[in-house]
Symmetry: C2
Subunit: 320 residues, 2 copies
Amino acid sequence: MEGTGDLLNKKRKLENSDEIVDKCPPVLKNFKDFNINKVIAENPRCKTATIHGQIAGEDAVVLLEKTAFDASHLGNYLSELTTLNNTLKNDIYGTYDAFPPLIENAIRATVIHPATEKHIKKYTDQPCYVVHETPELYTNITLPLIISKQFSIQWVYNILGKKKEADRIVFEDPDPEQGFVLLPDMKWDCKDTRSLYLVAIVHKHEVKSLRDLTADSLPLLNNILHKGLDAIKERFGVPSSQVHVYLHYQPSYYHLHVHFAHVQCEAPGMGADRAHMLIDVIDNIQIASNFYQRKTLTFTVREEDDLYKKYKDSGYFDKS
Amino acid sequence: MEGTGDLLNKKRKLENSDEIVDKCPPVLKNFKDFNINKVIAENPRCKTATIHGQIAGEDAVVLLEKTAFDASHLGNYLSELTTLNNTLKNDIYGTYDAFPPLIENAIRATVIHPATEKHIKKYTDQPCYVVHETPELYTNITLPLIISKQFSIQWVYNILGKKKEADRIVFEDPDPEQGFVLLPDMKWDCKDTRSLYLVAIVHKHEVKSLRDLTADSLPLLNNILHKGLDAIKERFGVPSSQVHVYLHYQPSYYHLHVHFAHVQCEAPGMGADRAHMLIDVIDNIQIASNFYQRKTLTFTVREEDDLYKKYKDSGYFDKS
């Protein structure tokens, strides 16, 4: 993959030629030439909106996002410079439309132009569907897809073999059966512990997911739970009572791994349609060794997921 | 409780007297007189920040929230009036700081002034803690608290007895053992089905929560699952494959109820530390009738919760 530097260099060269307009659309000064086609995604909670439209007759996708408040700028917001229009006043409560100084009014805009059909689809809100995967559905639909896709997990082996990201490892138990490597997830900057998010990847191969766990896995699971939490407490000072420890089903890759996230961090993957608390997993296997081979597991698929297509083709959704 | 109109009338009368400044602080024109003390809460994902400070020497709490994009205003954002400052350009991707026209720059501000200690505490981010409730902890700590508090659930009986909200009922099965009432949750406006959120409240009393469910509860649970989903499909046109059906543990009141939410709706109570899929509950009880009497259940408590205090006093958190 080309790095940003390479591409910028290439662009700089192009700018010295006459071809620039065709090859790489120019930087925009405003949205004058943008024609709105459709809002393809929006999230009122996160204050984002994604719009499909055209610039100079070519497809474009614009992602808009309001910015988070920067604590170091609050003095600008909470000053004489912010005009207040009262919208409600009731006893000690008042609500206002506040107009902060211009410098604080930036929103983030990402422009993809020209955009292909694939871009438009990627950024369009996808309908989601619930799948209740019985053991039979796992064997007949999910498992064959996992095997046929042979997802590349070379990057996992690179981490386990210390070929990549060795300097990021927070803790390791090298035991080939019960051992694991604990490192920060890419999504965490290792700064604010309230967003703490790490992942433990097991050394043992061949354990694809929750579905493969039995009583034989208990020493491995207990090892991850206790040594993982101890390492997090030691390195980051966060006690076990403030850490959620869970597995995903479906996971994003089929080599067993466990997530550690701060209870205060709103991790998108913490939904009950995906996260399974490790302590519950251990407990369930103790109740019945073959719990995860007998269990119907519920998860959500997006319309663009291969798994959705497989279930759809099988007629699974016809009955709902 | 006084309505807004009553209070505004009272305020109008006060404005004609000399006492107005002391009794009800005036509407603010800007934040000139606000002195920042501390950011007491922030949520970068939702773009909110809450600040404790002083106005004229009195405590005040200011809640700031960026506003969601209004689809009908996007023409203002995506026009010549929005100035773009390029921050990155790489091939077809460009990112910008965008400065929309002034009219679109309103943020929402709520001012509580004068604020009491209680207000400040209420709006301050509370630390959360994970509890792994074993059956023994349930019996010795949680259950006695539930009983001692005798939470009033008269409002639940009012709904079941059709004394309140009868016009909001979407479906009812009147059977005293297996029946339930299905109605929209207060949080849903019954308009956008992507935010669909209903609750089924069982007619049977004495079932406090998940902890009380056994094989005897299976007819009731299956009844809620199937008739609830059928009613939602019929009334709102949302198929069962787009609805999550779950119980909360801990619930917010101890009379058995089940939540129905659209898969696309980011319900805050859908976290794996609180939501238990009804289909899983049924499945687990089929695996072991006393599953929920044997199971360690995990949930999160906030520092201000009575349950947190009980567990803390018992020494539960000392070991983490």
